[in-house]
Amino acid sequence: MRHIISILLENEPGALARVVGLFAQRSYNIETLTVAPTEDPTLSRMTITTSGPDRVIEQITKQLNKLIEVVKLVDLTEGAHLERELMLIKVKASGAQRAEIKRTSDIFRGQIVDVTANVYTIQLTGKTAKLEAFIEAIGPSCILETVRTGVSGIARGEKTLSI
């Protein structure tokens, strides 16, 4: 099963390497990883999506907790949560295709953020499944390039991950 693990990490050199190293060392799987400082500059917030049997996920959270720089972590998929990913996608857009792509982008609430005579660059935000649906709808033949941030997640309601 897919899990979203959200981590508060000391914003120190080498901390990221320890997290990534742990996954490599123990052959855990990382699907996406995002990290950036929080409103408190001493802390970074990291979101990792991973998948595996329950025993492995339990080990992942326990091993992460053992890292000295990990201040706190939560498996967001254990409760109600929001997840978002941002994608920039560059597509061929010429002739009749141009209008069709614009329409598809509108349906997915995408924004065209850069335009040339033959190319649209579209920005799209949503759950991973939505981004994948868009890629499928556009069709692989007109995609020139995609770049995705990976998942960011947060718990719904009053629950917070903070120190």
Binding site: P13, A17, Q25, Q63, N65, K66, I68, V70, V71, K72
Partner: protein, 580 residues
């Protein structure tokens, strides 16, 4: 406030931590620090002949004393040479501080002379690591390093220090912090009382109970509590390779070691148990055999200080995370409370326990540490270890290398005290035993310290004979010489139809001459009589000398029992021809 250079701060900080010996090797990036050593006498430096040995010396010291060993080496090859030693300590959860020099900070990343990314290379095998960014951080980092290394589940901590952090004329304010707090690091202080009570109740319900204790009891300094609990319950106990000595091996309730080369009775009792109390043990693959066949009828209580050890390989019914001494104290209190209550329904079923003990005594008779004696006229390794036990009355520190001799020592040297059996259990590092023994002997000069080794392992750090000469470290090297890499050969005999691929040690030196060339004593032993004489000399007229005892043993001997691969705990070879 006092103004000190980074090098002086480092040495002073080590002194503040009560460090008496640092094991190391100087080099370019640490010359400022070594100069700071020169100007004081509180912290002594032991110059090894290879950095790996420095790490093992520190490790041996830590295992014997429970205090962290300190290693200091230069950048590049100095640092990388310690890697095996750090990994050895990490796998067995041994507290250790490894201070590595680094090239000047402005050169980091330039592929400078003797530069290596020690932070990166050591990352998977340390509990934590620090890189010094400014000299004024040194005292606090040392304090944090000792705190992290010695608390919770212990482990090695690396401190990487660029040369420009230790410049003599670059002085900064120094004061050693009294306390340290790390917001993201809070080792458990106490087990969950509700869980502990449930665990005691479950234990008392057991009709076929067993206690399975490991290195965590030794590291957690909980041997006294363990002894009380085992006796209070009158339950059998088996110990892992790492746990030997926490409970006395010569006691009636001890079933010896369990696992791949565990005793027949220990493995049978585990397999048939209905309740297992696992204490500071990690259900290692060398213990469980095939996990899916492990102890099918048992409910398991697992006490460990590291939550990630719990349900890692085997699912447990009652997990307890906490310091071993504290959890066992609480178990003893609850047990006393239950026993005091005459009406309690929770008291153990004495009849069931008696029939369980009867069954165990039956198992005990079957193998009972048997081995064929003197079939070929050569000494048997088991006999040699028993001779060593007799000569030392079981009181020596035994620092083992890795291989058949290690298993024979674990099986036949009956450890009655914790911290006296010192071996690389988790990583299985050949070359560990000799320097580890040196670390122990240096700190316990009046104790008998023996390195049990083979002619394969000893050659992996033989150069330290020179260090022993320089510092007068009279360890005894007890080399079980079968002229072959015994454990490899055993597997080749059992699984590869006797094809001894690269397991034969040709071109062995004359051990007596080798020892003599370093100024030590060498004794050759063939047969029991010579063994007894050699032992008498080792601990008698050569008490204060390093003695290399070359014990010629039967090369065809295998270690038994041996669990059958992919089988259950109870599936064992008991000899070359007898299987369960």
């Amino acid at each position: 406030m006092e103004m000190l250079s980074g090098g002086e701060m480092l040495v002073r900080s080590l002194h503040e931590e009560g460090v008496e010996y640092v094991y190391g090797y100087p080099g370019g990036s640490l010359l400022h620090v070594y100069d700071a050593f020169y100007n004081q006498s509180a912290v002594k430096h032991v110059l090894v002949r290879h950095e790996q040995a420095a790490a093992h010396m520190a490790d041996g010291y830590a295992r014997a004393t429970g205090k962290p060993g300190v290693v200091m080496v230069t950048s590049g090859p100095g640092a990388t040479n310690t890697i095996t030693g750090i990994a050895t300590a990490f796998t067995d959860s041994i507290p250790m501080i490894v201070i590595t020099g680094q090239v000047m900070s402005h050169l980091i990343g330039d592929d400078a002379f003797q530069e290596t990314d020690m932070m990166g290379i050591s990352r998977p095998i340390v509990k934590h690591s620090f890189s010094i960014k400014h000299p004024s951080e040194i005292a606090e980092v040392v304090k944090k390093a000792f705190y992290i290394s010695t608390t919770g589940r212990p482990g090695p901590v690396v401190i990487d220090i660029p040369k420009d952090m230790t410049v003599p004329n670059d002085r900064h304010e120094y004061s050693y912090p009294k306390k340290v707090k790390i917001r993201s690091y809070t080792p458990p202080q106490k087990g969950h009382s509700g869980q502990i009570r449930k665990a005691v109740e479950l234990l008392l319900e057991g009709k076929r109970p067993i206690i399975y204790s490991g290195g965590g009891v030794v590291l957690g300094k909980a041997s006294d509590q363990l002894r009380k609990l085992v006796r209070e319950l009158n339950y059998p106990i088996t110990q892992t390779l790492m746990g030997l000595g926490a409970y006395p091996a010569t006691d009636r309730q001890s079933l010896g070691m369990l696992g791949m080369h565990g005793s027949y009775e220990a493995n049978m009792a585990m397999h048939n148990a209905d309740v297992i109390l696992a204490l500071g043990a990690r259900f290692d693959d060398r213990v469980t055999n095939a996990v899916n066949k492990f102890c099918p009828d048992a409910k398991i209580v697992h006490v460990d200080i590291d939550p990630s050890s719990i349900s890692k390989t085997v699912d447990v019914d009652i997990p307890i995370v906490g310091p071993m001494d504290n959890v066992l104290d609480e178990m003893l209190e609850i047990l006393a409370e239950i026993k005091a209550d005459k009406n309690s329904a929770a008291l153990p079923d004495q009849a069931a326990l008696e029939s369980w003990w009867n069954q165990i005594e039956e198992w005990r008779k079957r193998h009972a540490g048997k081995y064929d004696k003197n079939e070929s006229g050569l000494l048997k390794p088991q006999e040699a270890i028993q001779g060593l036990w007799d000569a030392t009355k079981g009181q020596a520190y035994i620092c083992s290398d890795v291989g058949q001799h290690q298993m024979f020592a674990a099986q036949y040297y009956k450890f009655d005290e914790p911290n006296k059996w010192i071996n690389s259990g988790g990583l299985g590092t050949m070359g560990f035993g000799f320097p580890a023994a040196m670390g122990v002997k240096l700190n316990f000069p009046d104790e008998m310290v023996v390195c049990v080794t083979g002619e394969g392992s000893i050659q992996m750090n033989i150069q330290e004979m020179s260090t022993c000469l320089q510092y007068g470290i009279p360890v005894k090297i007890f080399c079980l010489n079968n002229g072959t890499l015994g454990m490899v050969r055993q597997w080749q005999d059992m699984n590869y139809e006797g094809r001894h691929s690269s397991s034969y040690m040709e071109s062995l030196p004359d051990w007596g001459m080798l020892a003599a060339s370093y100024g030590h004593i060498g004794i050759n032993v063939e047969g029991k009589e010579q063994l007894d004489q050699a032992m008498a000399d080792c601990f008698g007229k050569y008490k204060d000398r390093l003695v290399f005892v070359n014990v010629v043993i039967d090369p065809d001997e295998h270690v038994y029992p041996m669990q059958v691969p992919t089988g259950a705990m109870r599936d064992m070879w008991l000899s070359k021809t007898e299987r369960t």
